[in-house]
Point group: C2
């Protein structure tokens, strides 16, 4: 058979602080495995164990006989991690907002989406069959303006944003969004916290916890008055498993399951993904020191980058997109670091990348302080 695609970089080991790509073991500052769990031996063995017990998957939807012990274990672990009543676990985090939007579509008069929202949010917004209005990236003033301009009397707004932006690591000003929405209540704010979960907040519950918005009303009641906060995300980044999760009250989770058909019309997740996810969540819950180590690494990386005079913002996220001159210069930095055994991807085009693209630095819990120092030393030489 001929190659399927032009030459592409091949990852030949689990992703981690060191990762083998095209035969070279790199110091790896890329990807989204922020707690270093995708290559954790216990997580890997849990994936294998679940597959041996229950097969590749249940070969039916959850509304058929598609429940098995390990799928329910993920939902119990996720509910416990988030301190909520229950959770729905499905095979792809990309569709989190597809479901949330459909669960809220009946009451939404118009949708307001951050202009740099992740692709999956943009796509999900279209599923409501309502007007979709973009507001300027992380700009609560502009959100307030667009709400005033576009909402007709009696219409409820549905606002969609990333909690932490994938490329830049910037946190959305969700408190300010809530304030902007107050005069338009009832209103809903849906946050995709793919990059916040497991990283931000005292208990790792993400950007809402970090911003003091983690209250009993989150993911609680779609029919409530006031400004309602909903959050969903993926287990495939910090939380170390695979697939999406929406935790919440039984009424909200039931609404999510009923509004789309990932519950009754899609295959239940692979048993390996479920086994890995359940174990990884258990590790995250029992080992808060993992998150503390990650947060220390984040502080070291960000302080170091800032010390080199780079513009990094003040986010506590594990990734930071940095603009250093033009695309040619950033490609040079990427290539030079690579020849020195360090991988920092140059991202030319992504939601929020801007015209010239960005160098994206991502740190994980299993990087040692020495590894981060080495990155910073090499980067200083290259700049």
């Amino acid at each position: 058979m001929t190659p399927i695609a032009p030459p592409v970089p091949l990852m030949q080991s689990p992703p981690g602080a060191e990762t083998v790509i095209d035969g070279v073991r790199y110091l790896y500052f890329a990807g989204t495995g922020y707690l270093g769990l995708a290559g954790h031996p216990e997580v890997i063995e849990a994936a294998c164990d679940a597959t041996r017990r229950y097969g590749v998957h249940s070969a039916t939807s959850r509304s058929g006989f598609g429940h098995n012990p390990v799928t329910l274990e993920v939902e119990r672990e996720a509910a416990a991690f988030f301190g909520m009543e229950t959770a729905f676990y499905y095979s792809s985090g990309y569709v989190t907002n597809h479901m949330a939007v459909q669960a809220l579509a009946a009451s939404a008069g118009a949708l307001f989406v951050d202009a740099a929202a992740h692709f999956c949010i943009e796509e999900a917004a279209r599923l409501a069959g309502r007007a979709v209005i973009r507001f300027r990236h992380r700009d609560p003033g502009h959100l307030a303006e667009t709400l005033g301009d576009h909402l007709r009397p009696g219409q409820q707004p549905l606002v969609l944003s990333d909690g932490v932006f994938a490329l830049t690591g910037a946190v959305a000003p969700l408190r300010e969004y809530v304030r902007a929405l107050a005069s338009h209540a009832p209103a809903a704010l849906v946050v995709d916290d793919a990059h916040g979960w497991g990283v931000l907040g005292e208990q790792g519950r993400g950007s809402l916890e970090h911003l003091g918005l983690w209250t009993a009303t989150v993911n609680a009641d779609a029919a409530a008055d006031g400004v309602k906060l909903f959050v969903g995300g993926t287990l495939a980044k910090a939380l170390g498993g695979f697939g999406g999760v929406i935790p919440g009250s039984r009424s909200w989770v039931d609404a999510v399951r009923a509004a789309s058909h990932y519950y009754d019309g899609a295959s239940a997740p692979p048993c390996a993904a479920a086994g890995a996810s359940a174990r990884a969540l258990a590790i995250v819950r029992r080992h808060p020191e993992l998150r503390r180590r990650l947060q220390a690494n984040i502080r070291q990386l960000r302080a170091g980058l800032g010390g080199l005079g780079l513009e990094i913002g003040d986010s506590p996220a594990a990734q930071v997109g940095v603009s250093i001159g033009d695309a040619t210069n950033m490609r040079r930095i990427h290539e030079t670091l690579k020849t020195r055994g360090i991988l920092v991807p140059y991202i030319a085009a992504y939601s929020g990348s801007g015209q010239a693209g960005l160098l994206r630095f991502a740190v994980c819990a299993t990087h040692t302080p020495g590894m981060i120092s080495r990155l910073l030393d090499e980067l200083r030489r290259v700049l």
Copy 2:
């Protein structure tokens, strides 16, 4: 922790001809594992092997460093199975049509969807941001009529249908759809062949092959004139893996990858799903006798059901939805068979289920003739 949900049936073994549910080993005529591969020891070990080598997943998108040898192997195997240039493999078959629709949205003037199309097709149709018109289930005459009524001059139609309907096993009259579309060319027909792949056709390429529509123009060129046929589906049913696949020419697959963001904005599939999928596809290609055994089982099941006087249509699909009296009677049949150790699900509500619901019989390659005879004997007693 308290139970996450009301009591639900729990599958406690891999799905297969015999499946353990709630502690009982049933003769299992349910689900979608038509070739019996989701519990195949080699497939399971391939899932474990890939996970050990490459981790739970690559923790990044395919546009990052998210390629690994096993992901590319799935795409090579899928391309070889379908006899096409390349393929795109992603983590959920549910989104197959989400991508196909977006790849064709620019040229589509209006969308025409079978009234009993699967939920995921209905949902995908909305992503084009165009008018969506429903035509009567499997009714080419009504399709022709709606095309005439709704297409404005110069508009291209995009027709969406299941190849084989999930619940009933009925095959869509795709040849007749092509004829109805001829006078509106250029036109596109997108088929989700989730339940046809691996089951129908001499080489298992599904409903298009079965209907003599498998030509070099399938999944070839979105810009071509004439009536263009596109097909996608899942590896999670007969083909024995997990995740979705769109095979095709490089230009079509590139268009699919570019139109949505499952390539550059979603996590690459779990390594276990990829390992299982690659091995299962290899088994399907090397062991056509598996498909022949399945087809013999299908003939035995359908002849037997027909011999009991039941209305089963003339489809060669592995599942058949049968209406036997009212919902109460079908529940009784389901329950009685269950007490006799045989599982045949009663489906109350699904796309295409009708008011009263249906009993859905599904057969797989690993059922023995004796198992099918036992089902038919017990069913005769219950009727």
